[in-house]
């Protein structure tokens, strides 16, 4: 297990910057989630750490030592790819054993079999060990590729949306399983995801990337409650944060151009009148689509609400977030 430090890391593909001047310290045993839309540089960051890409500038330190000169194999990292990670010509067993048979480890076959079985049990693929990798369903393939990372005890685990192709139930189970394994091993993990629940429940730290730049790094709570910009605020929260003109509800702090309202920032029952447009009943939550002066607002209400489209409700902000015209956070002034 190890700490990872990225120092002014930059990688361009042609003229396009994929990772731009990223500095980041991942403490030993941390579970770091990288958030950002497609093209933000999350996967490239993982690939740089893995040694699959060479940075144009900057340095990567694992346990205080630069690894730029090292081959991927020497860096002692394990990576779960988003897709195409299983060797299609091998069985599940051989896929899982592949890293252990590498010239660097060369375990003896009895030990390999034992370890492969253990990991297969955890991931519930023990009954598929004899199958060819191509005979698996998408979810099973993904579990095998997670398993291929878990059979080893590398210094760092890198995971690129490992749970994205799984169904909801399995994803929930593996989320807990991965977190448990990470805590038990005290493993350092760099994890890319789009999924808010994964980020909030598993991460000890969240890094938000925007077009290659790291815009905020902190605990999941900090990122959620205290975002530095609209962009960061929009990464987390379901339904998404509502961004409206800052003066829609009257007073606003100096410099604020927009007000950001998450559902918990909206108090229903007093304030300005908004019209109910649509009601989405998702089962565990009910979303209310409101219109106020032509602005669409999405919030939550009680699950069994009696409201119907066309009703009028009064709303007012409660400890909202303010942002300036460029999207940067403005102190709320209270």
């Amino acid at each position: 297990m190890a700490e990872v430090v990225l120092r002014n890391l930059t990688k361009r593909f042609g003229k396009v910057p994929a990772v731009e001047d990223v500095s980041l310290g991942v403490p030993d045993g941390a579970f770091v989630v990288l958030l950002g839309p497609t093209g933000a540089g999350k996967t490239t960051t993982l690939r740089l750490v893995a040694g699959l890409e060479r940075p144009d500038a900057g340095d990567i330190l694992i346990d205080g030592r630069s690894v730029l000169g090292e081959m991927p194999a020497q860096r002692d990292v394990a990576m779960v790819f988003q897709q195409y990670s299983l060797y299609p010509h091998l069985t599940v067993r051989d896929n899982l054993a592949f890293p252990l048979r590498s010239p660097i480890l060369r375990w003896d076959e009895a030990a390999i079999e034992k370890r492969v079985r253990e990991v297969a049990e955890v991931l519930r693929i023990a009954h598929k060990l004899g199958n060819k990798a191509t005979q698996l369903s998408g979810g099973e393939m993904q579990r095998v590729s997670i398993g291929r990372a878990l059979v080893r005890r590398p210094r760092i685990y890198l995971m690129d949306e490992p749970l994205s192709s799984l169904d909801a139930k399995l994803r929930a189970e593996l989320r807990i399983e991965l977190k448990r394994i990470q805590q038990e091993l005290g493993a350092t993990l760099l994890y890319v995801t789009h999924d808010q629940i994964e980020a909030m429940t598993m991460a000890t730290h969240v890094g938000v990337l925007d077009r290659g730049r790291l815009v905020q790094f902190g605990t999941p709570r900090e990122i959620y409650e205290d975002p530095v910009s609209v962009y960061v605020a929009e990464r987390l929260g379901q339904p998404r944060i509502n961004t409206l003109p800052a003066d829609l509800f009257g007073t606003r702090p100096d410099g604020a151009a927009t007000i950001g309202l998450r559902p918990e920032h909206i108090r229903i029952g007093e304030g300005r009148e908004a019209r109910v447009g649509r009601i989405e009943r998702l089962g565990d939550q009910t979303r209310l689509h409101l219109t106020l002066d032509g602005h669409e607002i999405v919030t939550l209400t009680e699950v069994h609400t009696r409201l119907t489209p066309g009703d009028i409700v009064a709303i007012r902000p409660q400890a909202p977030l303010y942002f300036d015209a460029a999207g940067a956070r403005v102190p709320s002034g209270r």
């Binding site: 893995a50 040694g51 699959l52 081959m71 991927p72 194999a73 990292v77 394990a78 990576m79 790819f81 897709q83 195409y84 990670s85 060797y87 299609p88 010509h89 592949f98 890293p99 590498s102 010239p103 660097i104 480890l105 191509t134 998408g138 393939m141 291929r148």
Partner: protein, 313 residues
């Protein structure tokens, strides 16, 4: 199943398509069948008119193919001990004795060594080059690939005379090595292009996963890329072998003895002891076999190649 189901053609369609396939097979196979049959005829049956479809099979053609014979006087024939084996018996019935083995076996082995040798070399070098073109940033790689392809644009025989002179200077005329190098030079562009296509199709993630799993690039190539390129390697090998095996013009020009391959040798059989068509047909039949066997052996990979892409997500 409905009549217009996509998965299951109707009975009529099946009958018509089946009939067409059988008709086509018959038309294309009759000449082959004729060659095989002629190999088992007597010289008289082979040229009889009208042609004999039903005949008494004999291995005379094969005996003549593999032996050289000398005519002896009836008195000498009388004085010999009784014939050993069927071959001796057939030869003596024509008033001759077996003088020794013919050169067919030797020429056939030359074909095997040169054909398979050049196929191996083409596929080996082709795979490495194709991998490099597919995975690494090579300056001017498009131009290089075009250059490699351009070597195929001229019929090889157009440069026959320069090659003939060059080979004479280098001492490569009528050598196995010379022929292997020549056929490799002709085949390599095909091999590079075909294999590059196949290797391009293999996602890089597989190798990258292997690199992270603790393997070097060469090990990743060997353990991950090669098995997945098996289909491409098999089909490329078949194409290369078919060319090298059947090549006639250069074989006639550049080989005459030690390294002579079967194609220029087989026609010379006609001249030995009259028009011996059964022996020629026997030689042709045996000559067909290796490519056939090679293709059948690699068939599994070829079939897999057709279905492989379809089952992946």
């Amino acid at each position: 199943m409905s009549a217009h189901s996509i998965t299951e053609p109707s009975a009529t369609t099946k009958w018509i398509s089946g009939g067409l396939v059988v008709a086509y097979a018959v038309v294309t196979l009759i000449p082959l069948l004729w060659i095989v049959a002629t190999g088992f005829k007597t010289p008289a049956d082979a040229i009889s008119y009208p042609p004999k479809v039903v005949f008494d099979p004999t291995i005379e053609g094969y005996v003549n193919l593999f032996t050289t014979r000398t005519r002896v006087t009836p008195e000498q024939l009388e004085s010999l001990p009784p014939p050993e084996g069927i071959a001796e018996e057939i030869v003596r019935s024509y008033g001759m004795v077996i003088a020794g083995p013919s050169r067919f076996g030797e020429r056939f082995m030359n074909s095997v060594v040169i054909g398979f040798g050049s196929t191996f070399l083409s596929v080996f070098l082709g795979t490495l080059a194709a991998y490099a073109f597919s995975r690494f940033k090579i300056p001017l790689s498009d131009d290089l690939l075009f250059f490699i392809l351009s070597t195929r644009m001229m019929p090889p025989i157009a440069v026959a005379i320069p090659i003939f002179l060059m080979y004479r200077q280098l001492g490569l005329s009528d050598t196995h090595l010379g022929m292997i190098l020549l056929y490799t030079a002709v085949n390599i562009s095909l091999a590079v292009w075909l294999l590059k296509g196949f290797i391009d199709e293999i996602p890089r993630e597989y190798e990258e996963a292997a690199l992270i799993d603790g393997y070097t690039r060469f090990q990743a190539f060997y353990k991950v890329v090669l098995p997945q390129a098996a289909t491409g390697i098999a089909s490329t090998a078949i194409f290369c072998l078919i060319f090298a095996w059947n090549e006639y013009a250069f074989a006639v020009l550049l080989t005459s003895g030690t390294a002579q391959t079967a194609p220029p040798f087989i026609p010379t059989i006609i001249g030995v002891g009259g028009q011996d068509w059964p022996a020629v047909a026997a030689g042709a039949t045996l000559f067909l076999l290796p490519v056939l066997i090679f293709t059948v052996l690699l068939r599994k990979h070829l079939l897999r190649g057709i279905t492989f892409g379809a089952v992946r997500k």
